[in-house]
């Protein structure tokens, strides 16, 4: 009941707000994204697989992560998000990430 009381305070009558907006058709164009992964072992495999679902900066902005963490990330992409990556390619991708983006 306490939450309801708080809510009564938070919810202002909207009479001072503009009435319901006139909805207009909206078309949005997202910026092109053609950036490849930087050079490294197996980079061709990385570009072929990873860029299908997300831009390279998703990976490049991550902290340096150990091989076990990269393996878990690639496994999650395959098992949870159903990325169609073969066993062989997954191993090559983990090798790339470990070579280019892991602590020394």
């Amino acid at each position: 009941m306490k939450i309801v009381a708080v809510a009564g305070y938070a919810l202002l009558a909207a009479t001072l707000m503009a009435a319901a907006p006139a909805f207009k058709p909206v078309t949005a164009e997202l910026p092109p994204d053609a950036t490849n992964f930087p050079e490294g072992p197996n980079v061709k495999t990385v570009n072929q697989n990873c860029l299908a679902c997300h831009s390279a900066d998703m990976v490049l902005d991550q902290p340096l992560l150990p091989k076990a963490t990269w393996t878990a990330e690639v496994t999650k992409m395959r098992n949870v998000y159903k990325a169609p990556v073969t066993d062989a390619d997954a191993a090559l991708i983990v090798d790339y990430l470990t070579a280019t983006h892991a602590p020394p």
């Binding site: 939450i3 309801v4 708080v6 809510a7 009564g8 305070y9 938070a10 919810l11 202002l12 009558a13 909207a14 707000m17 503009a18 009435a19 319901a20 907006p21 909805f23 207009k24 058709p25 909206v26 078309t27 949005a28 164009e29 997202l30 910026p31 994204d33 950036t35 299908a52 679902c53 997300h54 831009s55 900066d57 998703m58 902005d61 991550q62 902290p63 340096l64 992560l65 963490t69 990330e73 949870v80 998000y81 159903k82 990325a83 169609p84």
Partner: protein, 405 residues
């Protein structure tokens, strides 16, 4: 309300103070380096996204855009074109036809309904000011670092949301007494069709609360498409993961939701402040839920210069999490002495609350400013950061190193 007037600055004796109170944050945003532990915190700015102004680019696809921190200074409501953006799947709506847009209600209901936008806006209109914050806001500061969106502190924003009560919308379909949860889906789709569609649930009791709304306006204007146009769910006091964008489907469930995004993702340790040790075993995990208090200094950025042995006026904002702000305290000596800040206008318990503080700085040299919020439930921001493997719910006391000259 918080910027010192020119006259008061002059009355307090000096141009130096005026300069000190006008730090780099008054300038247009520059590409940030968040100085994350271990590095890799440099980001670029982008103006390339539709209906958005200059944003910090965290990820191009799916879009992940952070609000430049300068945009939190001196304005309690975050402008729509500067509000942060986060999508899970790369297949996101880029075309909305309001005439054919429908919100479908189905599952444990008396009658399935498919509501047009006119159907929605014919319901009673309500408004609420509320902070929308990503569960992983500030994740880049976690130590040890964890994978995920490497946000600075700008994965949040505050807006006045106008819309209709979710409970009124649920009544259109008539919720059966067997329903235990309401599950929400938007127009985004898995990139790979077998992947789990992004869906989130609230208990039926929560969904019925009068402060949970479906918003069609944000700060008095239509939502930007990347923020959920034409309608999104607003769950005041709870993390953004529940605030489903381009809301198109509500399913009433007769059993707790076991979909991936509720059962496996977005879990926190069921411990105070969602805190645990790296590798700690046997921790019970639960879905993330309510927010916790935070506060920030916005008028002074890191490495600013302030006048030694003189009073400085600082300003910023705070929020209580899922309740109001009771108190904000500021320290000019790294947290040894705390001084009460003056709270600004109260826009409601879920909003940012502006504050100002006038504190006397010490002798020349390096020092650290700090700010902490106590919410109306008595929770205070902690000295030590929390840690969990997903990088959720950071709310440690923020510290800003400055030089006194």
């Amino acid at each position: 309300m918080s910027a010192p007037s020119r006259r008061s600055v002059l009355a307090q004796g000096g141009g130096a103070l005026a300069l000190a109170a006008t730090p780099a944050f008054a300038a247009p945003p520059t590409a940030p380096d968040f100085s994350f532990p271990g590095g890799n915190g440099a980001r670029s700015l982008t103006k390339d996204f539709p209906q958005k102004g200059t944003m910090v680019l965290q990820r191009s696809r799916p879009p992940l855009l952070e609000t430049p921190f300068t945009d939190f200074d001196n304005q309690v409501f975050t402008p729509n074109d500067k509000f942060f953006v986060r999508w899970h799947w790369s297949v996101i709506p880029t075309q909305i036809d309001p005439a054919s847009y429908r919100l479908k209600l189905h599952g444990a209901v008396e009658r399935e309904v498919s509501l047009s936008l006119s159907d929605l806006t014919s319901l009673k209109s309500v408004a609420v000011a509320a902070v929308n914050q990503c569960s992983g806001n500030s994740r880049g500061f976690f130590e040890p670092r964890v994978p995920g969106a490497q946000w600075g502190n700008g994965g949040m924003g505050n807006a006045r949301w106008t819309g209709v009560r979710l409970s009124d919308v649920l009544d259109k379909a008539g919720v059966k007494s067997s329903a235990v949860a309401a599950r929400f889906t938007g127009l985004d789709e898995p990139t790979v069709s077998e992947g789990p569609a992004f869906k989130k649930s609230l208990s039926i009791e929560h969904a019925r609360q009068s402060d949970v709304i479906i918003a069609y306006a944000m700060n008095g204007k239509p939502l930007p498409l990347l923020n959920g146009y034409p309608v999104r769910l607003i769950v005041p006091g709870w993390y953004s993961t529940y605030w489903i964008k381009t809301l198109s489907d509500i399913e009433l469930l007769e059993a707790p939701d076991d979909n991936y995004w509720m059962k496996t993702a977005y879990l926190i340790p069921d411990t105070p402040r969602a805190d645990m040790k790296p590798g700690q075993a046997g921790v019970t995990m639960v879905p993330i839920n309510r927010m916790v208090p935070r506060s920030f200094i916005t008028s002074v950025g890191p490495d600013a210069k302030l006048k030694a042995n003189a009073a400085a006026t600082l300003r910023g904002m705070a929020f209580g999490g899922d309740c109001g702000v009771a108190k904000v305290e500021v320290s000019g000596d790294g947290g040894q002495a705390w001084h009460d800040a003056k709270l600004g206008k109260d826009e409601g318990p879920y909003s940012f609350r502006p504050w100002t503080a006038r504190i006397t700085m010490g002798a020349a040299g390096q020092t650290t400013l700090a700010v902490r919020c106590t919410n109306t439930k008595g929770e205070v921001q902690p000295d030590m950061p929390n840690w969990n493997p997903s990088g959720f719910m950071r709310n440690v006391i923020e510290r800003t190193p400055v030089t006194l000259t």
